[in-house]
Symmetry: C2
Subunit: 214 residues, 2 copies
DNA sequence: GCAAAAGTGTTTTCAATACACCCATGG
DNA sequence: CCATGGGTGTATTGAAAACACTTTTGC
């Protein structure tokens, strides 16, 4: 039996969730987009496998992964039986640079989660399941801190919450709750180049509790 | 590579969580207790495998399973490389009867989760991870309904919550919140044979929302 | 000076908490 | 009749929700 590890790596750009995929140069699924994945070797754990495949295929290292889901449908891979274990990672896109480090890869890119390209194998399902997990995790302050290590604005985070929760939030109440939670501090700067009044920039404090917001 | 499915089946007796295990008659791990488990066959999904192993080893069928965790440490099985995927099921112990249906099984029994016997392989870790998941799930009304399909008392559920949350709760406030959540109705009967005043018996209503309590 | 987006304070509402007495049963 | 545990109501506190105007920038 074959086992593969899969990585759903998410970030936020302009208040929109995006997921990282690469495009294959060769058959099968030539031209399709896929999540970074790799077969588990005899002497490797799943955690080691997922780190290595992300590092070798898209050039990101030292990410935090958490287990997400397992996929065992008989024909999820049409060529051989493969059981898939998916991991999730949430990162600050500004802090990383994508490298294309693998010969079979034509391209590496971020995609908005509600506007995916043509996706190979059952990776669309894998992403769908990861999004559910993402939406739970993102409500915790420690996850937020990972994705916004510094220089974020409150309207920016609010927009993200509105996407995740599926409804709008009141600006004043949002701010009040966030400030009372004792998580953030002003950097002193303001967000550049917007239409209206620029928003204050914040960072998370050094040591914060893992509170559930909203 | 070998993959196994593992089942952590929980119930509540007298306000105490218990987990279901069986004892092996033969080496390896002769005399040790283990979770129901089975290797995944080429033409079976994980879900099919976990159902079949629970059915064949302890005689329980038609349970609801949810995926819990995956274990891939190289030496978690000292004899061969096995990756384990664990499932969790929460049941009403009054509704089931254990059958010992497999030759290699000496015994099948429930164990309090904080007082386990000697456990084979890494199943103690598997149980520990399942307990974390259990403690999240049990706070949801739909999970509660599975474990208490009928004829429960509020003090009984309160005792369970106090175990899970790690602190005591006020009887009056507990009741108030539970009743306001619009989940339960009185059966009209009272719990028999206790020391003091008998408690009213309740059942969950037909259709309930999946609310998070406490 | 006008459009666009951000920042701020007060009132109301509802849920969470704290708390003390009475009730039904067994022995 | 007494010990044991279960059931009930009220007052207080604190968080969430509802709500309108002012401020800062770009053009």
């Amino acid at each position: 039996m074959n086992i593969e590890a899969l990585a759903s790596i998410f970030t936020i750009v302009d208040g929109k969730f995006k997921v990282l995929m690469f495009r294959k140069k060769t058959e099968p699924y030539k031209g399709y987009w896929m999540l970074p994945n790799a077969m588990v070797e005899k002497d490797k754990t799943l955690e080691e496998t997922v780190e290595e495949c992300v590092s070798s295929k898209v050039g990101l290292t030292a990410l935090d992964y958490e287990q997400c889901d397992t996929f065992s449908a008989i024909n999820r891979n049409p060529y051989k039986r493969v059981i898939g274990v998916s991991f999730i990672s949430i990162i600050d896109f500004r802090a990383v640079e994508l490298h294309q480090t693998y010969d079979d890869i034509e391209n590496v890119d971020w995609f908005e989660i509600d506007n995916l390209p043509k996706v190979g194998y059952d990776h669309a399902q894998v992403i769908e399941s990861a999004i559910e997990t993402l939406k739970m995790k993102i409500r915790h302050s420690l996850t937020l801190k990972k994705i916004f290590p510094s220089d974020f604005t409150l309207p920016e985070i609010q927009k993200m919450y509105e996407q995740v929760l599926g409804h709008d939030l009141d600006r004043r109440n949002f701010r009040k709750k966030f400030v009372k939670a004792d998580l953030i501090e002003e950097t002193g700067d303001k967000s550049p180049g917007t239409n209206g009044r620029p928003a204050k920039l914040y960072r998370f404090k050094e040591e914060i509790e893992n509170k559930l917001l909203f």
